[in-house]
Point group: C2
Chain length 205, copies 2
Amino acid sequence: MKEQGILLIISGPSGSGKGTIVERLCGNEDFSLSISATTRQPRDYEKNGVHYFFHTKEEFLKMRDNMELLECAEFCGNFYGTPRKYVVEKLMEGRNVILEIEVQGALQVKKIYPDGVLVFLIPPNLEELGKRLTNRGTEEKEEINRRIHRALEELELVQEYDYVVVNDTIEQAVADVQAIVRAERMKCSRNKNIKKIFKGEMESC
Amino acid sequence: MKEQGILLIISGPSGSGKGTIVERLCGNEDFSLSISATTRQPRDYEKNGVHYFFHTKEEFLKMRDNMELLECAEFCGNFYGTPRKYVVEKLMEGRNVILEIEVQGALQVKKIYPDGVLVFLIPPNLEELGKRLTNRGTEEKEEINRRIHRALEELELVQEYDYVVVNDTIEQAVADVQAIVRAERMKCSRNKNIKKIFKGEMESC
């Protein structure tokens, strides 16, 4: 029997470097990125089952009511959610699945799938966060301040998370997340069959 | 403020390779081996505070009654125990402390120091365990069978542990334990001050 993978739920303020870290992890063959379901129209280049699972509003709401979504939310009149089926299939194949998601969605997932591992990513300090947002060059000062305040609001919920990773450098943060997954796979609560395996061997000795 | 270290409590059947793994970890400057207290007479080469802390029976029992020991037990008329003071000092210096100890003692420590991390080390399978014990060449067949049965008894308590590490190779098992310690240091429950640090920064912005 193949050992089950870990569902890794990563959140963090904008400017924390989530995107880059998730990209690096997905470059590793043990990790898959979760694919979201949505009711919005596909863009030209978007493929069903690759970028999103595209659904009508009726289909989506039926999935939600049947508890087939690990979390869902509405933005600008469209629904977005995480189909449980895709995630569970990958986990059963032994792959670790990454969900990059904001705090409220992450806490929804943890409720439905308590074996999921919540990781909160933070920049080393607020100054660095401001600097990273400024360096992007795409945001106005007011918008940057708004994001810093939002980051502080999100931090209020950090105690609901399992781990906090400080993103000093990308390499260190990626290695930190890999250590978390490696450790989680060794948890006794995830290895209840070990005793049985040994006992079974003993009987056949 | 220096980040606090992790108290790592390692158990496992004889033949699981505990000794070698602990030795390797202690070769790393972040790890210290705990020093036990005992009432037995020092041997010629043994130094107080290096091999053991040597005490009279009266001193030892006073330490025990004052809750100054994380665990204690009696073997062949002598007392052995783990002084809390030495462990806590090292942890406060930011070092990880290793306690190599049998199952009953490990569970005592976890009760008194719930932040301790319990790691159970096992050989990849029973056949391998038998082989390792035989290769030592020091044990009779009957003694080997007794140890295998003892290992199975200890396995009954594995669900009380936090992690189970399968010692396929020494290198992998050492890296597994290092990943556990790295991950544990990132647990939100051990980083409650992170929110305060950010908030403090914000007020002084």
